[in-house]
Amino acid sequence: MSVKERGGIGQSARRVDGEPKVTGEYAYGSDLRTENMLWGATVRSPHASARILAIHAEPIRHMDGVACVLAAADLEHAKTFGLEFCDQPVLAEDVVRFRGEAVAVVAAETYEQARLAAASLVVDYEPLPAVTDMEQALELDAPRVHHFGNVLRHVHIDHGDPADAFADVWVEGYYETAMQDQAALGPEGGLAVPAADGGIDLYAVTQWIHIDRQQIAPCLGLPEEKVRITLAGVGGAFGSREDITMQIHACLLALRTHRAVKMVYGREESFHGHVHRHPSRTWLRLGATHDGKLVAGEARLLMDGGAYASSSPAVIGNAATFAVGPYEVENVRVEGTVVYTNNPPCGAMRGFGAPQVCFAYEAAMDELAAKLGMDPIDLRLRNAVKTGSVLPTGQVLEGSAPLREVIERCRAIPLPEEAPVAGRDAIAYPGGAGNVSRGESLKRGVGFAVGFKNIMYSEGYDDASEATVSLRPSPAGPVASIRTAAVDYGQGLYTILAQIVRTELGVEQVLLEPSTSGVGSAGSTSASRQTTMTGGAVLMACREIRAALGNEELTRPITRTCTYHHRATTPLDEHGQGSPHVSFAFVAQRVVAEVDEELGLVRVVQVATVQDAGRVLNPQGATGQVEGGTAQGLGLALTEEIQLVDGAIRNASFTDYLIPTILDVAPVVTEFVEEPELDAPYGVKGIGELATVVSTAAVVAALRDATGRTLNRVPVHPDDLVGIRSEATTSGPAPVPDVPGQKSIPEYLGLGLGQSMLMKASDT
């Protein structure tokens, strides 16, 4: 069998890291151990907003097994960190800004001793007024989370003028999406080992080794070269491993005690210890001519970023640019704000702002279709963008955009047969294992939605990825190896990279070396970017190797290191105009669902997905991304919600934060449209996020079809479906804040700039 048949691109090659995962040998961050190690534990604030009056660390230092207790006063170097702005304290100093904020850390001989010590540490607080509602945060007299006010970023997009547009029909809606958790099964965890040279070796879970190092090193007072990070096995991420969690804490404890320190979060702590998906409120107006041509769109978008910035500025930027959907609309105004509150911080989660706006614009499009008396899918086709379309930011969509084909092929997927109403196995009814039905009051609904988002980073970031490929002779034939710092947290990147090497170098044996900070940055495993960026770097290196080898036999090793950059993007100007995104991908989903109308319970019957993928490099991996992404969007539609009361998470456990089980998902029929993307390796587009962008909207569309209810809020509760709870209401769009411009406020103030400066292209 040729290499191309066994495991080259286009094949469903087996995972290169699969075997240790099925045998249980694969080592995740929470599995690591070493001799003589200490366990770390974190003390967290019970208040959403409070002044710290005293931290009584001394008694804890004398508890059994305790080796070290650290609070802010013990920090000797940089005291803050953050993905875009260093606004988050390593350990809270003077004030705490969210319930769950880290206040102190302890290290002890055993896990139990560390936990007991952390639980025993007494901190005196003076509770302060907290702002826990995103609209309240905009009020001038609201408590200020940071001294400069609660607006983190406001984005304004002006294209044409909706006031001038001649629309025959308008629809206007208000939509809410809840705070969602990534709920990766593998918890935060890692091991920090102090080194003889005064540096530190950190084995941890992350989505981006180098951005972690950039934040960790200043807090340890070490140059970056002395902070050596090796990737531990990552048990899922979906955005929750982009921000620093336990890394700085573990390193500080290790350097202070001169011993290895392991820190692992339990599930409850994990809910408090990582960022979540931004809850959102969207006020949307769409205007169209009587024959269904969209002429105007106005969106007011508000997101709750919680206490610290994380990647909120990028999330609101993204969401704002997608706010009226993948449609040609001449006159658009978008006002998008992300605010600080004393709620737990929000940041990256699969979709990065796109799912929230998709829920809104697709609901509005269905309403518009109904008002126009038009088929909802025809309305999408009438307005779908294509290559050459101009987006609300003025960006010309230069790359591939086969949205029409995506929509038509999704529509054409055969509907599933209707299952007989009576006589099913009990678990085949809505309500599953509860035995609540013998087929009563079942109503089938079909919903259709389209979505899109950017692939790769945006707004002028000069994103890059470095990879090294080596080819060496061996008795068994040439062997290739790949060195990359890129993180594969399950989506299958390493397998794709091996497939690329097999195809390009005609080599069967491909080894992946461990991912460490000893090589150049591969960037984040997020934004559906890795196949393009690191795949691109690997492809470049392979081609250079082939060029270097020419027609000669391989007699000695050849190594090439390449860095892949995508084409330049621009920031948004003062009108929100520019070329902010590199590439766009589109998706359509049709969901068939059954609703038990009396009980308001749902059984999803089928999800049909057509996705624009550029080029599918591993069909099984690609459908796996669609299926997994769909389940996460389905969760937000039906059961997932971080329930916050006065800034406190009430359901920080898998008992009450309900992610879909196998009984909650339905068969997913997936097809891909492969129209190659411009300037992308093999013409690929990233796969991972698109199904999550659209599935919430598609599921709720099916529920609206089944019940006739408005359903303008997710997750949809049984109360909504039976009519006990009425739709979410508003007193009108949130006021637009008076801010200097499009950038984040901390940037205008020159405050503790973090990665946002380091990642931008130079201005020249």
């Binding site: 469903s12 087996r14 995972r15 890291d17 699969g18 075997e19 995962k21 099925v22 045998t23 249980g24 040998e25 080592a27 995740y28 929470s30 599995d31 151990r33 896990y111 990534q182 709920a183 990766a184 099964l185 593998g186 918890p187 096995g233 990552v234 048990g235 899922g236 991420a237 339990g266 599930r267 196995d425 678990i427 085949a428 599953g432 294992a433 947290y489 399950g490 989506q491 299958g492 099984q620 991996g621 459908t623 796996g624 299926e627 997994g628 992404g629 769909t630 389940a631 996460q632 456990s653 898998f654 008992t655 992610i659 879909p660 089980t661 196998i662 009984l663 998902v665 068969p667 997913v668």
Partner: protein, 153 residues
């Protein structure tokens, strides 16, 4: 207290504290880290093992109750370097992404097929209802069970 148990076929004498879970015993004392801790409350199934032949969440079993029992974990499935048909099926079907849920699911799937070699679709889903997966959306896991069913038959 001292307990004696057979773990993956090997007899062990272990000192356990009464509140210690079987999961902690397996992971920390016996260094069998294949069984995972993702929720500590029996909601996710990633700690699934066999206790005297029954599928249980080891995070909820007090270690002392393993005294006199036969414990088998995911590490017992592959023999002499050969994967168990369920393990191979998970790989062939693409049912592994991050893999954190995989040991628990492999054990639960192997348990199902040992008890019910030709399960209905409903039986598969009911048997795996106690195992959460966040990456795959479960479709390929169902495919894997069907593949394994064929391979075992």
């Amino acid at each position: 207290m001292l307990i004696r148990a057979t773990v993956n076929g090997a007899e062990c004498a272990l000192d356990v504290s009464p509140a210690m879970s079987l999961l902690t015993l397996l992971r920390d004392e016996l260094e069998l880290t294949g069984s995972k801790n993702a929720c500590e409350q029996g909601e996710c199934g990633s700690c699934s093992v066999w206790l005297d032949g029954e599928l249980v969440c080891s995070c909820l079993v007090p270690a002392m109750q393993a005294h006199g029992c036969d414990v088998r974990t995911v590490e017992s499935l592959a023999t002499n370097g050969d994967l168990h048909p369920v393990q191979d099926a998970f790989l062939a079907a693409g049912a592994v992404q991050c893999g954190f849920c995989t040991p628990g699911l492999v054990v639960a799937a192997a348990d199902l097929l040992a008890r019910d070699p030709h399960p209905t679709d409903e039986a598969i889903r009911e048997a795996l209802a106690g195992n959460l997966c966040r990456c795959t959306g479960y479709q390929k896991i169902i495919d894997a069970v069907r593949l394994a069913e064929e391979a075992i038959a």
